[in-house]
């Protein structure tokens, strides 16, 4: 990533994703408290119903992207501090980028499938 972007830009994204993710997590928790029974929120039907609500699916998708970007960049930073060397650093950077994209793609697939009613009990 450092070859593509300046480190300060990456860090701006890092800080911003953390702040915005906190906001979305608060919204997520508030929805859980205000909509329906909190005790039943993890029941299969409740979870599927959440995905079918488009605004809520957008909140989940946003949380997935924000936390993935922040988390994998954090992992990249930790790994870069543990060991140095061009080959290692490139492997870590592109490895984290690939893992981040894969996780977002897989998570998005789940959100889209559930919201489109493609997941049945």
């Amino acid at each position: 990533m450092s070859n593509i972007m300046r480190e300060s830009h990456i860090m701006k994204i890092h800080y911003l994703t953390a702040l915005v993710a906190v906001g979305f997590v608060i919204i997520h928790i508030m929805i859980r408290f205000t909509h329906g029974s909190f005790a039943n929120s993890l029941e299969f039907e409740s979870v599927i119903a959440n995905y079918k609500s488009i605004p809520y699916a957008i909140v989940l998708e946003a949380m997935l992207i924000l936390i993935s970007v922040h988390g994998f960049n954090g992992l990249r930073i930790i790994l870069l501090e543990l060991k140095q060397g061009n080959a290692y650093e490139n492997a870590v950077t592109y490895g984290c980028l690939a893992a981040m994209i894969a996780l977002i793609a897989y998570g998005s697939r789940t959100i889209i499938m559930a919201s489109m009613g493609m997941v049945e009990a």
Partner: protein, 272 residues
């Protein structure tokens, strides 16, 4: 000849030479030693070319209220073990040569009084995060090259030495922004205390970053963008975890941790 066994171990005078001056100075040393308080000075000894591992050698050293750790080391070097490798010069916390770990904390040996340590045992080791040359002496090459990379000079097109120009005036407020950072003596104690430098061998370090800030904050300088580009790298300013230990150990009152945070402000765009 070992006059009553008074001379240090391994120090022998040739038997055919009678040296009253040397023996009297030795007696004087023994007299001072017996009349003053003593501490045990544990010195880390390691020669990378010869030794397998670091070993601590203990010496009993007399001290007075004003005796510094450097005085004690030089006392040992003069009277007990001449082979101790130690770097020093000014003895007044100006040259930044005698940085070492004293009782677990990075300090200048010439600026640390034994009486202030409040311990009967004083352990001295070479600074962390620097390549070891021998015993207490470490290599400063990387720190100096990083310092140089920060372009530690005023960058601008014109010069106050050109004919027809005047000196570049600054208000006291302008000077206040960077003056503490110009007190850096390049002793390396901040780098030695930095936890990031322990794992990240390519991290610029608090010394270099504080010097970058010193010139970025100077309103006579026009090389801000150039310097910010240098520190804005994967092993640059962003790897600081703000442990603050660099500022705690600085013997000149420089606050590199603050300088680093202020520099981040320039990079994040909320400082101009």
């Amino acid at each position: 000849m070992t006059k009553g066994g008074a001379l240090p171990k391994g120090f022998e005078m040739p038997s055919n030479i009678d040296s009253p001056s040397q023996s009297s100075s030795q007696e004087k040393y023994e007299e001072v030693k017996s009349s003053s308080k003593t501490i045990t000075l544990r010195i880390s000894k390691f020669n990378p070319e010869k030794d397998q591992r670091k070993a601590f050698h203990a010496f009993t050293v007399p001290y007075q209220r004003w005796t510094t750790v450097l005085d004690a080391i030089l006392d040992v070097k003069s009277n007990q073990d001449h082979s101790i490798g130690v770097r020093y010069s000014c003895r007044q916390a100006t040259c930044g040569s005698c940085g070492m770990i004293i009782n677990g904390k990075p300090k200048l040996a010439c600026f640390t009084k034994i009486s202030e340590l409040d311990s009967d045992v004083v352990t001295v080791e070479p600074m962390n995060n620097f390549p070891l040359i021998r015993d207490l002496a470490v290599g400063f090459e990387r720190m100096f090259s990083t310092h140089k990379r920060m372009k530690p000079y005023i960058i601008r097109e014109d010069s106050e030495t050109n004919p027809g120009t005047k000196e570049f005036l600054q208000t006291p407020e302008d000077v206040e922004k960077y003056i503490q950072f110009s007190s850096c003596i390049k002793c390396g104690l901040c780098n030695s205390a930095c936890p990031t430098m322990t794992t990240d061998s390519t991290f610029i370090g608090p010394q270099g970053l504080a010097q970058a800030y010193r010139y970025v904050a100077d309103n006579r300088d026009q090389g801000k963008d150039e310097r910010l580009r240098i520190i804005d790298e994967p092993h640059g300013i962003w790897r600081c975890h703000f442990a603050g230990s660099c500022s705690q150990v600085c013997p000149k009152g420089v606050d590199p941790a603050m300088g680093i945070q202020l520099l981040r402000g320039y990079l994040l765009g909320y400082r101009k």
